[in-house]
């Protein structure tokens, strides 16, 4: 019972903070809500029996990726100008099409969920099981992901190199 209450609390926080993250005009405020949403999702993961996924959610998403987002916001340092531009972007009529599409998706989701039986959580999933699944049946996916990351790394290196050759930096 307590777990159920905690689960719904965490998911409500995740939903509300995601909506707030989308609608804030100030980029820094939006980011704080996004971080909150990620932390709430980590709590949800923990409650449905996936502590490893929860920890990775905090370490990687909240702890590393969002730090890079903050880094970019600091680099751009938009301030008041950015706020004003965001305000123009967030006019009410812009929301009409996305809302219709999202409602359609929601109806579809509810239909699908009502037809299938609720998934049972099979107790705690330990980090060992996650590792064995990743390097057992899903090893191909892991390899492809690592190749994708490598390609990204090489691309970033290439861009940086061109910048140096053109006499930027020192």
């Amino acid at each position: 019972m307590l777990e159920l209450i905690l689960f719904y609390m965490a998911s409500t926080i995740a939903l509300v903070s995601t909506i707030l993250a989308l609608t804030r005009v100030n980029a820094a405020h939006a980011l704080v809500y996004l971080i909150l949403s990620l932390l709430a999702v980590a709590v949800v993961f923990y409650l449905i029996g996936a502590p490893f996924a929860a920890a990775l959610e905090v370490v990687i998403y909240a702890g590393a990726i969002m730090v890079l987002f903050v880094f970019v916001i600091m680099m751009l340092n938009l301030g008041e100008k950015g706020d004003r531009r965001e305000k123009q972007l967030l006019k009410p009529q812009i929301w009409i099409t996305p809302v219709i599409l999202a409602v359609l998706l929601l109806v579809e989701l509810v239909l699908v969920l009502s037809q299938s039986a609720p998934a049972e959580t099979q107790g705690l999933i330990s980090s060992k099981e996650v590792g064995m699944a990743l390097y057992g049946p899903y090893v191909l996916a892991v390899e492809i992901a690592s190749m994708l990351l490598m390609a990204g790394l090489v691309g970033a290196y290439h861009l940086g190199r061109r910048y140096l050759e053109e006499g930027g930096g020192s």
């Binding site: 502590p51 905090v58 702890g63 590393a64 890079l68 600091m74």
Partner: protein
């Protein structure tokens, strides 16, 4: 432990950590003074220890001011984030057999998560201050944290491989036949460097380098809000030291003395070593810091990871087989 005992113990740990951090401010200055052939704060009370109380009174009675150009809510929230994250980190530290607030299976990952969340304090504080020095400090901090966090986590994977668990209690118990500081000396080295960078203390305190950036991210902070940043930093120092002891120096293990005393003693020695680092090593330049991270530390960690993995595999397969 029963529920009531756990809550009591958590309270004791919190008071102990905050008290320890407060005493550290005095102890660090005294130690630095002695090593640099001067006295340090030695006037108030025995050995000057009441200096802690004087400093606290000063911080608490200062005008609690928020600059008009700052982003008020985030400006006030930022200093609390680091203290909260660091204190949560103490929840998984095994102080002795059974003396642990939560015996979590993912204790090590929880610790890494909490230290990485502590970064936001610096970043949000810098962003909310609306000040160019603070912003520069925040930028440096973001880049430093992201790069040093990568091998902070990776350097611990050797320990995880050898002990076969993320659970800190199991890691300590696995060290009863040999501390990991010998078999994982590369991991220990990298983790120590990354730990200094993570708690942004000298020599890696580039986010607040006072000779070039005023005071970096906390330029606009004063009074108890500044005190919270300092408290968080010292809590981080104690947390990192106790993690080094737990992961590499056998935690509470030791002969004759009770386990908690061993743990405290080892942690104290590691903390003194961190102060010695501060006294002995000058601050590197920012680009030196970054290139050392990626060009020295990361390869070292990967070598350690591959070697440990190979040896662990060889041992589990029954030696020469």
């Amino acid at each position: 432990m029963s529920d009531g005992m756990v809550i009591l113990f958590a309270f004791v740990v919190l008071v102990g950590a905050v008290g320890g951090a407060a005493v550290m401010t005095w102890w660090e200055r005294r130690l630095l003074g002695i090593w640099q052939d001067r006295y340090g704060p030695n006037r108030l009370g025995p050995f000057g220890i009441l200096q802690v109380a004087a400093d606290m009174l000063k911080l608490l009675t200062k005008d609690d001011w928020v600059p008009p150009f700052a982003d008020k809510v985030i400006f006030i929230f930022a200093p609390t984030a680091i203290v909260m994250a660091m204190m949560l980190g103490f929840a998984v530290v095994p102080f002795g057999p059974g003396l642990q607030i939560i015996d979590m299976n993912i204790g090590l990952l929880f610790f890494l998560g909490m230290t990485s969340l502590a970064v936001y304090s610096v970043l949000l504080g810098a962003l909310a201050s609306n000040n160019k020095y603070a912003l520069l400090g925040g930028l440096r901090s973001a880049a430093q944290m992201v790069s040093y966090e990568v091998f902070m986590g990776l350097s611990l994977m050797g320990v995880v491989m050898l002990s076969g668990s993320f659970n800190l209690r199991v890691i300590v118990e696995a060290q009863s036949d040999g501390w990991y500081c010998f078999s994982q000396f590369l991991g220990l080295f990298v983790f120590t460097v990354a730990g200094v960078a993570e708690s942004h203390r000298l020599p890696f305190d580039l986010p607040e380098a006072e000779h070039e950036l005023c005071a970096g991210f906390h330029t606009e902070y004063g009074g108890m809000k500044f005190g919270m940043f300092m408290l968080g930093e010292y809590l981080g120092l104690i947390l990192i030291s106790s993690m080094i002891v737990t992961l590499f120096f056998g935690g509470w293990l030791g002969p004759w003395l009770p386990p908690i005393v061993w743990f405290g003693l080892k942690t104290f020695i590691v903390i003194c070593f961190f102060v010695l680092l501060r006294a002995a090593i000058p601050r590197p330049r920012y680009d030196q810091l970054m290139s050392m991270g990626w060009k020295v530390m990361l390869p070292l960690t990967l070598v350690n990871l591959v070697l440990t993995g190979a040896i662990a595999l060889w041992l589990t397969n029954g030696g020469a087989a």
